[in-house]
């Protein structure tokens, strides 16, 4: 409590709160916010730990077969008895192999990056250097809006517009004209599948990378561009051979983060992937499945497993996805920090 007193000279003098009051306030604030910070810090560990513990029975039950087997089978629910491996039990005939899903996740994410990275770089460059200054805020707003579209809406559009187009127009054309190229020929499927997933994922991932590319180019000073032009390069050469390489690590980091996003994307992929079980894609039009999508699509059936092993195996899947995305994120963030120094920006 501060009080004002008028001293002899007419100057107001404030009595400050006592040292004790200050100490209490400080300690309280520190403690309360510290708890909040602790939560933010620990939540990842809590989630990981919990999922691992919950999935432990499945980890023992499935063994390495989890990563090598393409069969996902919750087992015979109507018979009696259980199958026991390594001390844990599942329904007879149960086998939980995630190979199809891991393969699907990685393949669709890789193909997505293959398509999106060049596109995002092109769009980013065009956004910074070819859009008239007045239009730039609008263009930026559009890109951000694109990043904000919910994944179910992407899935909706994919299901209603993209998938029929693929099955009616794209697939027949490709398989008949380009069918000699491996993976482009063969059955045209129903439209849902690998190519649909890659298309939708690309749409979702491009805005993220465009925003980063744009930010990173703008933050870089003009000196590199000028130096290249003064040496007699064309403006395209200056951008691609001097400016972009100088921000390479920021771009690579954003690529990795986008990759992590693509692998973890659930709803949009779920709606257009075809939900393949126990089968690998034979061409780009075949159904696929990803870890994220299968966790959603298989949960109801997993609930019918009285032994609970199916649910725990789904948790094992969640752990796998968690660890993959954690690794990608940690590497990407670490790269971003080291690179600023190496590329002549910021402090060591």
């Amino acid at each position: 409590m501060a009080t004002l007193e008028m001293s002899a000279g007419g100057v107001a003098k404030a009595t400050s709160p006592s040292a004790l009051q200050r100490k209490i306030s400080q300690t309280l604030l520190r403690a309360l916010t510290g708890v909040a910070a602790l939560f933010s810090f620990a939540i990842i560990f809590i989630m990981l730990f919990f999922l691992l513990v919950y999935a432990y029975p499945a980890i023992r039950f499935n063994g390495w077969g989890f990563f090598t087997s393409p069969i996902w089978n919750i087992g015979n629910q109507y018979g009696s008895g259980v199958a026991t491996r390594n001390g844990f039990s599942g329904a007879p005939g149960a086998e939980f192999g995630a190979l199809v899903f891991i393969f699907g996740s990685v393949l669709s994410a890789l193909l997505t990056m293959l398509v999106s990275v060049p596109l995002a770089l092109m769009v980013g460059l065009a956004l910074v250097y070819r859009i008239p200054r007045q239009l730039r805020p609008i263009a930026n707003a559009l890109v951000e809006l694109m990043a904000g579209i919910p994944s179910v809406v992407y899935g909706l559009w994919g299901l209603v517009v993209l998938v029929p187009w693929i099955s009616n127009a794209l697939a027949p054309w490709v398989t008949s004209h380009l069918g000699f190229i491996p993976f482009l020929g063969g059955p045209t499927g129903s439209g849902t599948g690998l190519i649909a997933s890659v298309f939708i994922l690309s749409l979702m991932v491009i805005p993220i990378m465009v925003a980063t590319t744009r930010d990173v180019i703008l933050a870089q000073s003009n000196a590199i561009f000028e130096a290249s032009m003064a040496l007699g390069s064309t403006s395209w050469q200056a951008m691609t051979r001097a400016v972009l390489p100088s921000v390479r690590s920021g771009i690579v980091a954003s690529i990795m983060l986008a990759f992590g996003r693509a692998i973890g994307e659930t709803m949009a992929v779920l709606m257009v992937c075809g939900s393949a079980i126990n089968a690998f894609p034979s061409n780009i039009f075949s159904p696929v499945n990803t870890i994220a999508a299968v966790i959603v699509s298989q949960l109801e059936s997993a609930l019918t497993d009285a032994t609970g092993m199916a649910q725990r195996s789904l948790a094992e899947l969640a752990c796998t996805l968690f660890i993959i995305t954690l690794l990608i994120n940690v590497i990407a963030r670490a790269m971003m920090r080291g690179a600023d120094r190496r590329e002549g920006r910021g402090h060591a």
Partner: protein
């Protein structure tokens, strides 16, 4: 504008000259009616108070204003008699022959080797052996070879400021220009690095024609053969360096040199 004829008995051909050069930034008239001739294999220093337009003038000589939206150049800049602003002349070709070194060293975040051979590479030269030759030649020409010959594959950003600037000069030399434009190349460097650059310029003029902007009259007096004085966008006086600092013809030149403004 006053031009004092050369006092040297040897007359050198004019390498690069401007005729009625006007430069506008939007509505701002940055350079007014500049006529300047630079002799081959000589060093021309451009001096004047801050903001007088000497850097603006310099940048017009290799069409760097093409990169600035809103900048407009009128008049002519003649290289060996050909106007580089003529329609049909690609600025990229101009910059092959007229190189530029900037005020702050701006090496690419690449290796020393990659920096030096950047120019030849984008012009289409990929033969490794030739590139190495060019690299050595250019680094020698920039008086940097002995210091870096054992670490050509290390990052250019590890070099000191003075070394980086000499690297930029080497990079410029690698494209084999005829004219080298320098925009206050030593102003960001310490005195020792500065004197190394000045010695270098003295060597460079044997093979190239150099136009250098400097804010230091002492530097201009040390290294240049001719000096041009700019004030508020106008080229006031051009003269051999020896005479402009001792007997300037224009009162404004005299005021600047004696320190009345700067």
């Amino acid at each position: 504008m006053i031009v004092t004829p050369q006092e040297s008995a040897i007359s050198t051909a004019t390498k690069i000259e401007t005729k009625n050069l006007e430069i506008f930034y939007g509505k701002f008239h940055a350079i007014k009616n500049a006529n300047l001739a630079v002799g081959e294999n000589s060093v021309m220093a451009l001096i004047g108070p801050s903001g007088c337009g000497k850097s603006t003038f310099l940048r017009a000589l290799n069409r760097m204003h093409d990169l600035t939206p809103g900048a407009r150049v009128e008049g002519q800049v003649l290289l060996d008699g050909t106007n580089i602003y003529a329609s049909g002349i690609d600025p990229v070709t101009v910059r092959h022959r007229i190189g530029m070194v900037f005020q702050r060293p701006n090496p690419f975040p690449k290796t020393i080797f990659e920096n030096v051979v950047y120019g030849p590479k984008i012009h289409g030269l990929h033969n490794r052996k030739k590139l190495l030759e060019i690299c050595e030649r250019s680094l020698r020409g920039a008086a940097l070879w002995d210091e870096v010959k054992d670490r050509l594959d290390r990052s250019a950003l590890d070099l000191s400021g003075g070394q980086q600037q000499r690297l930029c000069i080497a990079r410029c030399l690698a494209v084999d220009p005829e004219v080298i434009l320098m925009d206050e190349p030593a102003s960001a460097l310490d005195p020792i690095a500065t004197s190394k650059i000045e010695d270098l310029i003295d060597e460079l003029k044997k093979l190239y024609t150099v136009v250098i902007v400097t804010h230091s009259m002492q530097q201009a007096a040390r290294i240049s053969d001719f000096t041009a004085f700019f004030l508020m966008g106008e080229l006031i006086e051009t003269a051999p360096t020896k005479s402009i600092f001792t007997t300037p013809r224009d009162k404004r030149t005299e005021d600047y040199i004696t320190g009345r403004y700067g």
